[in-house]
């Protein structure tokens, strides 16, 4: 063969690991209907390799073979594929901006619906419930808290968080404009802080996938923070299309501190409402 050796600007060919990774995600989708096929590869690869080490398996192909035949193993793998990392009042500036720039407008609605998409183990849900109670909105607010991980949803329902996290959460709460004493909202017992169950009396926890499910309600405010970073741009666009469809006229969308809609197809369909805090508003 006499091929001219031109330097290629294309990415290097797929490695075996990446091929195995794609096949695993395809197998999981076909077998269990969980769709991780459009997650960003770098982070997904790290998590699957971590799972391999923890499960004591030699390769992704070996994992695929076992996962296909063992739903229990898939349940364990799911805990590695999702990222249950959260904290209460994470990025206090976000919650402060909600109080200052979103709550006054939510007050103009007779009833409010809020969607916490990708709620993980519930820290964000309880933070928003506390904020809405302090702002006099909780009693007429319906919160939908959704996630794909049933184990995370179960934890979220319980509202029990490790006591050693409370000091950090308290500092966050105060910086987020908290109007009370944070300890009013939980009772400490043993190693855990159990949050006031009345906070989530109006919360519906539900299994919902941004990758495969559709819109279920009209909402005034969608909070989806540090979820879209794990999606590639196609899946980000799908999630943003759901939020856009769910939101009422001029409804609000809150994203994570380093997320942006600038690189999505939806950049023109939302206005920045509080840009540094990543709060957007559905454009007219």
């Amino acid at each position: 063969m006499n091929r001219t050796a031109t330097p290629s600007p294309l990415p290097s060919p797929l490695s075996n690991t990446e091929i195995e990774l794609r096949l695993l995600m395809e197998a999981i989708y076909l077998k269990y209907s969980y769709d991780f096929r459009d997650y960003t590869v770098a982070s997904q690869k790290r998590r699957v390799l971590h799972a391999l080490a923890q499960l004591g398996l030699p390769s992704i192909s070996a994992l695929q073979e076992k996962v296909l035949r063992d739903p229990g193993l898939f349940g364990r793998l799911l805990q590695y594929l999702t990222i249950p990392v959260s904290e209460m009042f994470r990025d206090p500036a976000y919650f402060l901006a909600l109080r200052q720039h979103v709550v006054p407008i939510l007050h103009t609605y007779p009833s409010v619906k809020v969607w916490v998409a990708g709620c993980s183990t519930g820290e964000e849900v309880f933070s928003l419930a506390i904020l809405l109670r302090e702002e006099g909105l909780l009693s007429r607010t319906q919160i939908y808290a959704t996630d794909i991980n049933p184990a995370s949803l179960e934890k979220a329902r319980q509202g029990i968080f490790p006591i050693e996290s409370i000091r950090g959460y308290t500092a966050n709460y105060q910086r987020a404009g908290g109007r009370s004493s944070f300890s009013d909202y939980y009772t400490a017992a043993y190693e855990a802080a159990r949050f006031d169950p009345s906070l989530c009396a109006g919360v519906i926890f539900a299994d919902h996938s941004l990758a495969t499910d559709s819109v279920f309600a009209e909402t005034q405010f969608v909070s989806c923070r540090n979820v879209l970073i794990y999606f590639n741009r196609e899946l980000q666009d799908r999630a943003l299309s759901l939020f856009h469809e769910s939101l009422c006229h001029r409804g609000f969308l809150g994203l994570g501190a380093k997320e942006s809609i600038d690189f999505s197809s939806y950049s023109e369909r939302f206005d920045a409402h509080a840009k540094p805090e990543r709060i957007y508003r559905k454009a007219t």
Partner: protein, 201 residues
Amino acid sequence: MKPNAMQSPPKRIEAVVLGASAGGIEALLRLLHDLPLPWRLPLVVVLHLPEGHESHLAEIFAERLRVPVHEAADKMPLAPGHMYFAPPGYHLSIERNRRFSLSCEPPVRFSRPSIDVLMASAADAYGPALAGFLLTGANDDGAEGLLRIHLAGGITAVQDPNEAQISTMPEAAIALHSPDHVLPLRELRALLLQLESAHVH
């Protein structure tokens, strides 16, 4: 097979990733000041800082360097000749489509962002067309990442531990594999200029 691989010209590099911790700001400024314009190679940096504070690295470097400097954002494409810093509190990766992705996975070796995470993802995305530079620092983050770049066929360069303000980071990298270059900053800079000129031509 390339029969004449013996006298291979400088490799064609398409991006440079850099890592540092303690003493890193000063070292990076010495490495990157007054780069000749137009500069074409993208430069991506993880510099460890305490978490939970807004980083002003991009502003600090934008004032002192001639290349445009940004904090990397999720799904932002790498632009030729621009420099990017990982935001504090997030891991920064480069995907195959040459865009950034962020992640809140737990810290790696107590660090988030982690130099290893950036370098390993960049090695997957660029293969042999990547150079990794590891400078002064007080822990062993980056050693594994440089090894990954080396295994993918890329170029690895480490600041001479005798010159580094804190030698732990370069020493850890040298202990794990033999980097292609172990040089003081002045010569690392010459290497960078050489990679840039091979990239352009």
